[in-house]
Amino acid sequence: MSPLALLPELLILAGAVCGLVTGLFVARERQRVVAWINGIGLASAAVFAATSPHLVAFGTYAVDLVTNVTRLTVALATLLALCLAAGRIRAHARESELYTLMSLAALGTILMAGAADLLVLVAAYLVASIPAYALAGFAKDAPGTEAALKYYLMGAFLGVLMLAGVTLAYGLSGATAYPEARAPAVAAVLLLAGPLFKAGGVPAHFWVPDVAEGTSRPVAAFVTTVPKIGALAALYRLAGSVLDEPALLAVVAAATMTLGNLAAFQQDNVRRLLAYSTIGQAGYLLVPVAVAGRTELAEPALLLYLAAYAITNLGAFAVVVAAGTDALADYAGLARRSPWTAFALVVCLLGLVGTPPTAVFAGKLLMFAAAWDGGYAWLAVVAAANTVASVFYYLRWIRPVFAQEGTGERGTGGVAVVAAVGSLVLGIAAVAVLLGASAL
């Protein structure tokens, strides 16, 4: 193998380490340079992932389409989250640490996606989780500390369960590398605990609303978006080779989307609303995981939906960051105060519903098709019913935006607009490709 195959991971790591070291020697008000160093690491990783010719699987780590798309998505999403954070945390005492922790969590997420061995998966889980716990409690205030503690306790508990699953699988099959390792019944359930926790799937979802509400807004955007990408890619790999439990995964998917959507109904705090919405979205994302290996549509469905979800969800959180308020009522009249931010919000929320031509529409279309083609038409019907239900709470947020009256700050949401436009462009491009490929 060539070490160049791991260049994106190494670049992100180098960005994080260089950033941390630089941060030690730079005055507090000039720590912004650390954001640039981390950003350059992430951006160059994205460039190499997009152009990487290496498609190799060596023993414990696979570099294939799934890994490459995950690298690209994670790097770009982290870059957006970095921009969000950099605007808010200027001259904070621990500014450089924040950027470094984000880079490291992103690195762990990518490693989860590429892991082709159960032991590597466990290591990647820890690399992805520990920086995220620190991020959640970064502000050192009471809600942040509570969020971090909940996040940590749940993550540690479910991580131990996953480790038990790995032990069982190894004992049963005598291997931890993917094609050979098998995880029947109990081992499968235990093994799923870790990735499901990171993905925010039922029944490991309890941390999502508390962390999203308790931590600072840019961090909330990050931890509800980026770790999911790698966790779902890891689940997809597990479901395709190690596990053979499509029915179990389908039930988990149905439960996740239903619970997430129903719980979002009565939320008056937009961060909690978005948190439950991300749980619902995780449910849709678990659908291609459930039919992994049963239809060739599963892989494009998962990857496209992941990218679409990442950019759309970040856009919605970016609006919350820009508006600087969590109360649903404070969004009344946003369209008059800051029309571009309102535009971004409407595009992102309708995008999360799956309205064409946004990116999630293309992802959802493929997801429905994958479910139907994989023999789980009922799951497609459940997902469709859930989508209709979700319209209700997204519209609860959209409607006051166009109200005549209402007071609040004027927020400028550059990142939000970038994300919204990105969602539209990705969606139109994806629909165009789908239209073109439909006769193939």
Binding site: P356, F361, F368, A369, W372, A384, V391, G436, A439
Partner: protein, 486 residues
């Protein structure tokens, strides 16, 4: 050429984003863009020679056979023309609009692109994109410029029709997966109907039935109509409802012919129930807009009935007549109901009330408005020399000739009830003694007359000399019956 027709309104909407435009300028740009679009559609009609014309097929990937695929034929061309006309007249009717004009005009131009695109789409995915965007556009029209309990009505509209659209999406995916090779292209799917099960027809049927709407999934319609602004109601009833019936004729019948023939009885039953139930409920309404909305349920019922008859095994000529009547009814309903909603808008503009009991004796104060309403009501009830008669005569002859004698006879009762309720409406609002709000009503202004009169004039032209329209529709109806009979 066709793509220019579709996207010209959207380009005009983008133009409206320029800063510093006054309200009058915005409306002028709006009217100019819709008028130009109508002129282009007229040119399309003049140059139309039969079959599928003005096809555009963009190939994104060389080996792929489909992509952005649009075209018109005898089914879609009349609807496209009706859409372009109705949007122009809605623009004219909104000449005095002062409340957030820019967004209003931009939304209507956006909706126009969406509607024209839907009727031209020859790819299921493209069709669905437009289908969904129409819901979003109309939601914002109702919630932004409606009145009454608009937020609730708009939410109900969005949720209900979005449910339909997702059922539709599942049906489209079923069609895609059942086709060999997999494709979303309508022309290919019609040429080689996929061997899809009844579940696919059910999903597609639910999607279009909600949009049409038929009983029992019609309950979103009355509140949405009542609380929408006048132009919004006219577009909703005139154009958006046609998306459902057009979908049946364009997608359900030719792509699932075996299933359609097997379940034609269901379409006929639903059609008859919609005809009778819609008419009876309309009879009981005290609110003018709700009354018109329920007559829409009744009129769309005739279309479903006729399309159901196309799946029977009676005489071929009769089935062709039924389909031709269905398409004519779609055009006729768009014109006449559009006019009725614009008339209701005039009353709202004067007195802010739709209650039938609040008015009375308007004929003395507003003779022109009375005349317009009378013509529209006669056209709606299917009186000879107006377009409704041409449509309904064809439908009844076709349905009874195709073998559904009982259904045809029952539906004839619908006409009787409709005539009764429309005459009762005229009687209560325009004749008799003055009501509480009669004093506030003045006659139509010139721009309102310019918006309403062309619709009724066209209905009269179709009623007296329908050949030019039927010459376009009949070949398409023949083709559809052939496709349904495979």
């Amino acid at each position: 050429m066709l793509s220019i027709v579709i996207f010209l309104p959207l380009a005009a909407a983008a133009l409206l984003a320029l800063p510093g435009l006054g309200a009058r300028t915005v409306v002028r740009i709006w009217i100019a863009a819709t008028a130009a679009d109508l002129a282009l559609v007229a040119a399309l009609w003049a140059g139309y020679g039969g079959g599928t014309a003005y096809e555009t097929r963009l190939r994104w990937i060389p080996s792929a056979r489909a992509g952005y695929h649009v075209g018109v034929d005898g089914l879609s061309l009349p609807l496209i023309a009706m859409t372009a006309l109705l949007f122009l007249l809605c623009a004219v009717c909104s000449l005095r609009q002062t409340h957030r004009v820019r967004g209003y005009a931009a939304l209507f131009l956006f909706l126009q692109t969406v509607c024209l695109g839907l009727f031209s789409a020859l790819d299921l995915l493209l069709f669905f994109v437009f289908f969904d965007l129409a819901i979003v556009g109309m939601y914002f029209v109702i919630v932004g410029w409606g009145h009454g309990d608009r937020a609730r009505s708009a939410l109900k509209f969005f949720l209900y029709t979005f449910l339909g659209s997702l059922a539709l999406l599942l049906g489209f995916i079923g069609l895609y997966l059942a086709a060999e090779p997999h494709t979303f292209d309508m022309a290919d799917l019609i040429a080689n109907p996929p061997r899809a099960g009844a579940a696919v027809l059910l999903a597609v049927g639910i999607g279009f039935a909600v949009k049409t709407p038929v009983v029992p999934v019609h309950t979103w319609l009355p509140p949405a109509h009542t609380d929408a602004p006048a132009a919004g109601s006219a577009i909703l009833a005139g154009v958006l409802l046609k998306m459902g019936t057009y979908g049946f004729a364009r997608i359900a019948v030719p792509m699932l012919p075996e299933q359609w023939r097997a379940y034609a009885w269901a379409a006929i039953v639903i059609g008859v129930v919609s005809v009778l139930y819609g008419a009876l409920v309309a009879l009981a309404q005290e609110n003018l807009k709700r009354l018109i909305a329920y007559t829409s349920v009744n009129h769309m019922g005739y279309v479903i009935l006729a399309l159901g008859a196309a799946g029977l095994d009676g005489g071929r000529a009769a089935r062709e007549l039924a389909v031709s009547g269905a398409v004519t009814q779609m055009v006729s309903h768009g014109l006449v109901t559009g006019a009725l909603f614009l008339i209701a808008g005039v009353l709202w503009d004067r007195a802010r009330n739709y209650g039938l009991g609040e008015y009375g004796g308007l004929a003395g104060r507003a003779p022109v408005l009375t005349g317009l309403t009378a013509v529209a009501a006669f056209a709606s009830m299917g009186l000879p020399a107006l377009s409704g008669f041409i449509a309904e005569f064809q439908i009844f002859t076709g349905v009874i000739g195709a073998g559904a004698v009982v259904a045809g006879a029952l539906s004839l009762l619908g006409i009787l009830i409709t005539a009764g309720l429309l005459l009762r409406m005229i009687h209560r609002v325009f004749l008799g003694g003055p009501g509480e709000l009669t004093g506030r009503v003045s006659d139509v202004r010139p721009y309102e007359l310019a918006a309403i009169a062309p619709l009724l004039a066209l209905s009269l032209v179709i009623g007296i000399a329908p050949r030019w329209l039927l010459d376009v529709i009949e070949p398409a109806a023949r083709a559809l019956v052939t496709l349904a009979g495979r």
